[in-house]
Amino acid sequence: MAGAEQRRFRLFRGTREGGELKEYQVAAGEGWVVLDAVHAIQAEQAPDLAVRWNCKAGKCGSCSAEINGKPRLMCMTRMSDYPADEPITVMPMKAFPVIKDLVTDVSWNYEVAKRIPAFQPRAPDNADGTWRMYQYEVERPQEFRKCIECFLCQDVCHVLRTHGKHDAFMGPAMLVRAAVYEMHPLDKAERHEHLRREGGIGYCNITKCCTEVCPESITITDNAIIPLKERVVDAHYDPLAALWRRLTAR
């Protein structure tokens, strides 16, 4: 291959019971991303290597992994970002159980998503059963619609990653999903109780790692989690807000 450069890789090979880092060498072409190299290894050296991928364009969220310790999409990580004389280590996401090699079981996220109180539109504004809303109102939840469900934010969140609080905390991706409904101008459902108790929003300590790793540049912490935390404060920790609700019967 013209302009090819020998690069070393260390890939996790194994299952949730155990495994090891195996080293491979690959002739990497110009402009390659890490997923290109993993595919070359799979094609030429390790046909049984398990790797999940789909679009190769950073839009499907399938090829999430940890590259040199950082949660990233393999298809959006250029090999030229790493020194050529050092091996690139690729591990599966730590926050989820490994199925095989680089593939993890992320089904827990979908179970959590099912339990978020669903979008509940208010009564139609017009007799023909339609609603009226404006672009400036829906821009806020639209930002969260960019989520590609790569679950890198879940993976980097220390509450799940290090402390394993999967039973107590829904994680940043699911808070973003809740924010999509919660901030929608037509929605009338209340989610603060779900967010506080089952969602465990209090476990988030705002360290913003989720925002740092988001490949869609969603401002997860500032635009989704903190506004949701403030809504929980309104409902549970603000005596003035409670008094106001009582006085105005709202």
Binding site: G18, G19, N205, T207, E230
Partner: protein, 255 residues
Amino acid sequence: MTTSVRDLQERGFGATLRRDAWWIAPALTALVLGSFAVYATWAAWTGTNYEWGPYLSPFYSPLIKTSWWPLSPAFLILVFPLGFRTTCYYYRKAYYRAFFLDPVACAVGEPRHGYKGETRFPFILQNVHRFFMYAAVIFIFILAYDVFLATRWPVSGGPERHFGIGVGTLVMALNVILLASYTFGCHSLRHLIGGSVDCFSCARGGRARFRLWRGVTVLNQHHMLWAWCSLFSVALTDLYIRLCAMGVIHDVRLF
């Protein structure tokens, strides 16, 4: 050799597969925040050299001199700005990382188990941030009034005052601008002013609230920058006035 996947990833404090200098940011944060805490405590404790000419240190404003309080007057008021910064959403990130190592950096191992986050005492008290914000907004107006007073220079020891501006006036004005940019970009203010509204076109005064929310959002997007700039400006304003009062430097009167 077969190893569990968790053994290959980070376990224990500081363990990580990251190869970048992840420790620099928390180390710098700890150094700067720690230095500010030491300086602010010392400056508040001394109870001297906090005013010179028409200037008053922000650590001592509003100045409350009373006979029943034996300590420095700064301790009567510092709980409000201190509480505002301590419960601030940005500073929470900074000190959880730098001092509590929870986590020290993204995807880096932590020293402790039994994490409770902000669900239990004492960190559940972070939820009072909005009440400190109310006080912080009042302080902005007090400090702005101090800037006005810093343009009123005494004339030869008498009660009469003339308009004038010194370097200290500009330092105090810049401090108020930076503090206002930090305070008016607060996440709690952003929520209360419009963030809690989903349907602006349905809410009373919705259009106005949306414009206010958008304005606060512009400042909020750079909340970290304002947080640091205002932290430095408060300390430097106090230092400038202190050095003038001690006679170490001489304030330049511009007009």
